[in-house]
Point group: D2
Chain length 129, copies 4
DNA sequence: TTTT
DNA sequence: TTTT
C-alpha cells in the first residue's frame, strides 16, 4: 500500500541502458550505500543496491550518470520472483526509481530529473484567490 | 536539493477545492497527525499539518476525501513568506502533496492516486532482454 | 550514506522470534505491500518484503504482531551476500526496521514502537528561553 | 500516526546551541533547501526550513555544523501553536531532527550522527542460527 | 562483480 | 533574516 525508499550513494560503475522489444528505455545501475556504523573489524560496510530507471528517466540516467557519482534516488523496492535454470525459485530485489538528484556535480548540467518533470509546469505558489 | 515528507493522519474537515484564475484546480486540507509520544499531561498531542494538492490530484482530493478519513500522503514541505495586513512578514508551512493513499477504505474506490499516474503505463517488470 | 525505507503492508504470517547465541532477540517477518498499479492482467501484484527487527523491537514484534496485521515500518534496506550450499554466491535483501506502527488496531495496545523509545523522554516543545 | 521528513540542504548560518532551564541541550538552525524547479522568473527558489535538534544530537550539531555545510537530515514536522504579543494565535513549523549526515565533508570527522547511536552496537548481520 |  |  505504500513503498518508498530513499538512498544516497555512489555508482559502482557506469549504468547500462537497454530497450525493451517495444522500444522502452530502461537503465540499470548499482549504488554503493555506506552503512551508518562500522562492522566488527572496524570497517564501514556498504550495501550494494540494484536500481532500475524506466523511460525518460532511464535515458537520462544512461546518458548522464557515471561510475563514482554521488546521487540521491527515490523510488520503490520491488521484489521479483523467477525460476532459475536449476528449477529453483529465486528472488531479486531492485529499487525502481522515480527521482534522481546529483549531489556532487558542478551546477552546469541538469541537477534534478524526475520521471515526468518535463511536463511539470507548477503554477506560482502564491496564486491569489 | 531534496525535500520529502510522508504523513499518515486524518482529515480534520472536508477539503476545500478552488481554482486559480487560470482555471487550475487546487485543494487544501489539514491532517491531524498523532505524535509518537505522550506529553507531560499524559495525553497524545497531534500536529495539524496544512496540505495542498494541485491539478488532477487536487480534484480527486476535493471530490473523494472527506473529514475523518485516514490517509497517507507524500510530498514536499514548502515554506512560503508573505506580508500580513499589519505590514509584518509571516511564514506559512504547507505540504505540497504528490501522492495520496486511502488507508481506511473499502477496496471499491480508487485506493491510490498520484500526480501523474493517469499516464503511467508501466511495462512488465520481467521484460526479457 | 543514507538509506531509508518506509513500507505499509500486511504480515503474510506470524513473525518468528529467535535469539542469537549471545541471547540477542531478532524477529523476522514478511510484509505484503500492494503495488500502486495493476499488472497486464488487471490484477494488483504485491511485493513480499522480508523484514528483520533486533533487540527490544524484535521482542515487541515477536510478541504482538500477528499474521494479517496492517503496519507501517521504517528502516534501512540491507543487501547481504552469502555462499549457498552449491558454492554459488547469492544475495538476500532485507529491511532492518527501527520503527513500527500498527495501522489497524484498537488504541488499546501500544500503537508505536521504536528501537529505543523506552528511553525517550522528550522535553516540552514550547520550552521558554 | 506517522510523520517523517527528509531534507537535503545547506545551513543558512551557524546553529544556535541553547540549554533548557533543566540543562537539556537544544540546537536550532535553518536549512536552505532548493526547490526542484525554477519559478516564473527562471530562478530556483529555496525553502528555508527551521530545524531543531535536542540533547546529544543538539550538542553535536552546535559543535560541528557550520554555515554553508551540506547535510541530509531526517526527522518529523512539528507544528506548534502559540499566542503572539498582539493576542493573535500563530503557528510555527519546525523539523525536529533525529538523524543528521554530512554530505560535503572530508572523511576525517564523524560523518553520521543519530540521536542514540552512541549506544547502538549492532550484532553482525550474518549471525548464524 | 562493486563506489569515495 | 537566509545557503552553494
Amino acid at each position: 500500500m505504500f513503498n518508498k525508499i530513499i538512498l544516497i550513494g555512489r555508482l559502482t560503475r557506469d549504468p547500462e541502458l537497454r530497450y525493451t522489444p517495444q522500444g522502452v528505455p530502461v537503465a540499470s545501475f548499482t549504488l554503493a550505500v555506506d552503512r551508518p556504523f562500522t562492522n566488527a573489524q572496524g570497517q564501514r560496510d556498504a550495501d550494494f543496491v540494484d536500481c532500475v530507471a524506466w523511460r525518460k528517466l532511464g535515458e537520462t540516467v544512461g546518458n548522464h550518470l557515471t561510475k563514482g557519482r554521488l546521487v540521491a534516488v527515490e523510488g520503490r523496492l520491488q521484489i521479483r520472483g523467477y525460476t532459475a535454470q536449476d528449477g529453483n525459485k529465486r528472488r531479486v530485489a531492485e529499487v525502481i526509481i522515480d527521482t534522481l538528484r546529483f549531489l556532487d556535480a558542478p551546477k552546469s548540467s541538469p541537477s534534478s530529473v524526475a520521471a515526468h518533470n518535463h511536463e511539470v509546469t507548477i503554477p506560482p505558489d502564491d496564486v491569489p484567490f
